[in-house]
């Protein structure tokens, strides 16, 4: 038994490590969103600020780095993503539902084949679905000769909706199949015997029964569409969605504005998950209560009678929330004490960086002047070589303010 315990402890440690691996990068990324430095980092901490959520900043060298609230490309991408998500939900949920319904009715000989084809899109790499949609619609657009087909075939949003619907329908299909397996067919038969038409049966019995599955497949379809990149990047053509904007930003150079965007998304996800979980638990508790009551009325056993608890007990989550608030206040105090929060701190670091940068510009100018002087004295020979030497000055990048050397040089 002792070895069993040791094993369980080891397993516990392993799980802790695993969850650190899972959440650590996300936590660190969230922290970098509050650092005012141009490069998202934790360790050379500059100033605590919310600027990446608001206006961004103009870097010491004049480069404009947009924040979350001022980045219009991000906003446009977000709107396109929402449009596409809506379109995908509207198409893929009905398709998934109909495929699941037909699966229950199709002759058993064809069932495997039908099922295999239906789940194939999930097994295709996402890039291939995007590519195949684009090449097909390019052909259709060419043949369309300027009509509606051409316009549709060259519309990135339309193509993306089609391409994403191709595989997201399968997700919906799988959700519906799982729910339909527990459907009691006698309900349908009873309704038909009582004189309902098939259409009525569909709307009055089947749809209400499928409602939870429809809701969850709507959510899943929207989320899957919203975060898709592999398919979208091919089918979007000249438009931009949120994910392609993020990708192009990351490729050009990473900025803390992306961290702040990620933090916003993480917070939304967390809120939704917690709300869903709370609702679920409440429902479970209610169900249990009803069952207990039913048992009591059946047996009339006094041991099963529920005793109303009148004593007030503090709900446990409040402790957690209090703990987080205390940590926040404490941390903020520390920030103020160390003077690494607020406009004064930002102004100081900015000034230092700017002066560093200005000095370097001056040095560069001086070197260039010297070089042009010597080259004109020598009669314009070897001009290239001389100008190349401008950057060879060892003083030049000594305290280059762009990255993290600043803290070490500061007195």
């Amino acid at each position: 038994m002792k070895s069993q315990q040791a094993l369980n402890i080891l397993l516990g440690i392993y799980i802790c490590i695993f969850f650190t691996y899972l959440f650590g990068p996300l936590v660190i990324m969230s922290i970098t969103a509050f650092n005012s430095a141009e490069f998202p980092s934790v360790t050379p901490w500059e100033c605590f600020s919310f600027r990446w959520f608001n206006e961004g900043k103009i870097a010491y060298d004049g480069q404009h780095l947009a924040g979350l609230a001022t980045d219009w490309r991000l906003h446009e991408g977000l709107i396109t993503s929402l449009k596409i998500g809506l379109g995908v939900v509207l198409l893929s949920v009905p398709i998934g539902l109909s495929a699941a319904l037909v699966l229950t009715q199709v002759h058993s000989r064809f069932r495997t084949a039908f099922y295999s084809i239906s789940i194939m899109p999930v097994l295709f790499p996402g890039v291939i679905i995007g590519i195949s949609t684009v090449v097909l619609w390019d052909r259709i657009a060419t043949m369309g000769g300027g009509g509606l087909a051409t316009q549709l075939g060259r519309n990135g949003v339309f193509l993306t909706i089609l391409a994403q619907t191709c595989f997201i329908s399968t997700y919906c299909f799988l959700i519906f199949v799982a729910r339909l397996q527990r459907f009691d067919q006698t309900q349908e038969e009873a309704a038909l015997d009582l004189g309902a038409s098939q259409t009525q049966v569909f709307f009055k019995i089947l749809i209400p029964y499928m409602m939870p599955a429809i809701a969850s497949s709507c959510v899943i379809a929207f989320l899957a569409s919203f975060e898709n990149y592999n398919t979208t990047v091919f089918s979007i053509l000249s438009d931009q969605t949120l994910t392609t904007v993020i990708a192009s930003k990351v490729r050009l150079g990473i900025s803390p504005a992306i961290s702040s965007l990620a933090l916003v998304i993480i917070l939304i996800t967390l809120t939704v998950t917690i709300a869903y979980e709370v609702l679920r638990r409440r429902e479970d508790a209610k169900k249990r209560e009803i069952e207990a009551d039913a048992l009591y009325t059946q047996t009339l056993d006094s041991r099963l009678k529920k005793v109303d608890k009148n004593t007030f007990s503090i709900p446990k989550p409040i402790f957690g929330i209090l703990f987080v608030i205390i940590i926040c206040i404490f941390g903020f105090n520390k920030l103020v004490e160390k003077e690494i929060y607020g406009s004064a701190c930002i102004a100081a670091t900015e000034k230092e960086k700017k002066s560093n940068f200005a000095e370097q510009l001056k040095l560069l100018q001086k070197n260039a002047d010297k070089a042009s002087q010597t080259s004109s004295e020598n009669g314009d020979t070897d001009q290239k070589k001389e100008f190349g030497d401008i950057f060879g000055d060892p003083d030049l990048f000594k305290n280059f303010g762009g990255f993290d050397t600043k803290k070490k040089d500061a007195p």
């Binding site: 980092s41 398709i95 097994l123 790499p125 996402g126 291939i128 195949s132 259409t199 979980e277």
Partner: protein
């Protein structure tokens, strides 16, 4: 067919037939077939399509294997190399993911109490719903030249100057592992969860060791889950584009990036289509292989 109409009524039948026909034919089958067809066509301007030059050719597949005709190399070492690298690393990452996830899945399914298991599953789902690009970005912050890991390592004195994780591809492999790890856990968890706990206890009572129990009871029982998880992770890793875009070093290519280049930068769609067909073939072969090895049906792989 008559039976079908009788059962569903005219309105619903029409809806079912139209939506399924649209999906199966128009979204799944025709685009793939057209891409397959395009991969055998020469790269000519749109105006010449359907003209006398538009004949079937193997030139793109030849290019993939042997390189362009002007190069002196016998084979196309660059592209084939990228391809083999992608496949091998995807297989490796799949195996590593399996080893990582098996204990977790077993813990959640059989060891933990119901409440803990529920909590763990919810906290597993949260990172899964955050965009793959953003998760890769988080790793990029960690692995950057002036990033978190380097700074910590320098501070505790293990290294003197920063290690370039991105050029060493450490960042890329970690990112690919990180991105799809959850798709391995859930199928494994679902499979192990159905195992009767009494079997484990019986094995223990009969004197079987822990490891033996796992190899003789748990793993055979969970083989459908293992097949499913491995297939999903391999497919997504081999077909990943977001993670390589963020984390790959400038001189490393993932096969999907190669396809992307033929498509968007070199504007050679038929060649991009040919390379896609190669990737698709590998995917299909892998699925069939998994079905053969684990003796499962395709329905058990995707659930």
């Amino acid at each position: 067919m008559n039976y079908f109409f009788n059962k569903n009524g005219p309105l619903i039948s029409t809806y079912l037939i139209i939506s399924i026909g649209f999906w199966l034919v128009f979204l799944i089958i025709v685009p793939q077939l057209y891409m397959f067809d395009l991969s055998f066509r020469p790269n000519i301007p749109t105006l010449l399509r359907g003209g006398p030059d538009d004949v079937y050719t193997l030139v793109h597949y030849k290019h993939f294997l042997f390189g362009s005709e002007t190069s002196g190399e016998r084979y196309n070492y660059v592209d084939v190399g990228v391809f083999l690298d992608t496949i091998l690393i995807a297989i490796l990452i799949t195996l590593i993911n399996l080893c990582f996830c098996y204990p977790i899945a077993f813990y959640i399914a059989k060891v933990a109490t119901a409440k803990t298991a529920r909590l763990l599953i919810v906290s597993l789902i949260i990172p899964f719903w955050i965009n793959e690009l953003l998760r890769s970005f988080a790793l990029r912050i960690l692995f950057a030249g002036e990033g978190f890991i380097n700074n910590v390592l320098i501070k505790i004195g293990l290294i003197n100057s920063g290690i370039n994780f991105i050029a060493m591809d450490v960042a890329l492999y970690t990112g690919l592992n990180y991105a799809y790890i959850l798709l391995m856990i859930f199928p494994l968890y679902n499979a192990i969860e159905t195992l009767d706990k009494n079997q484990l206890e019986a094995a223990e009572d009969l004197g079987s060791s822990m490891i033996r129990t796992h190899f003789r009871i748990v793993i055979p029982h969970a083989k459908a889950g293992i097949a499913s998880g491995c297939t999903m992770v391999f497919m997504l890793t081999a077909g990943a584009l977001a993670t390589p875009v963020v984390l790959s070093s400038p001189n490393t290519f993932w096969f999907t990036q190669l396809i992307y280049q033929w498509f968007n930068m070199n504007d050679n769609w038929p060649r991009g289509a040919a390379y896609s067909v190669v990737l698709l073939t590998v995917s299909v072969v892998f699925v069939l292989l998994m079905m053969r090895i684990f003796k499962v049906k395709i329905g058990e792989i995707v659930r």
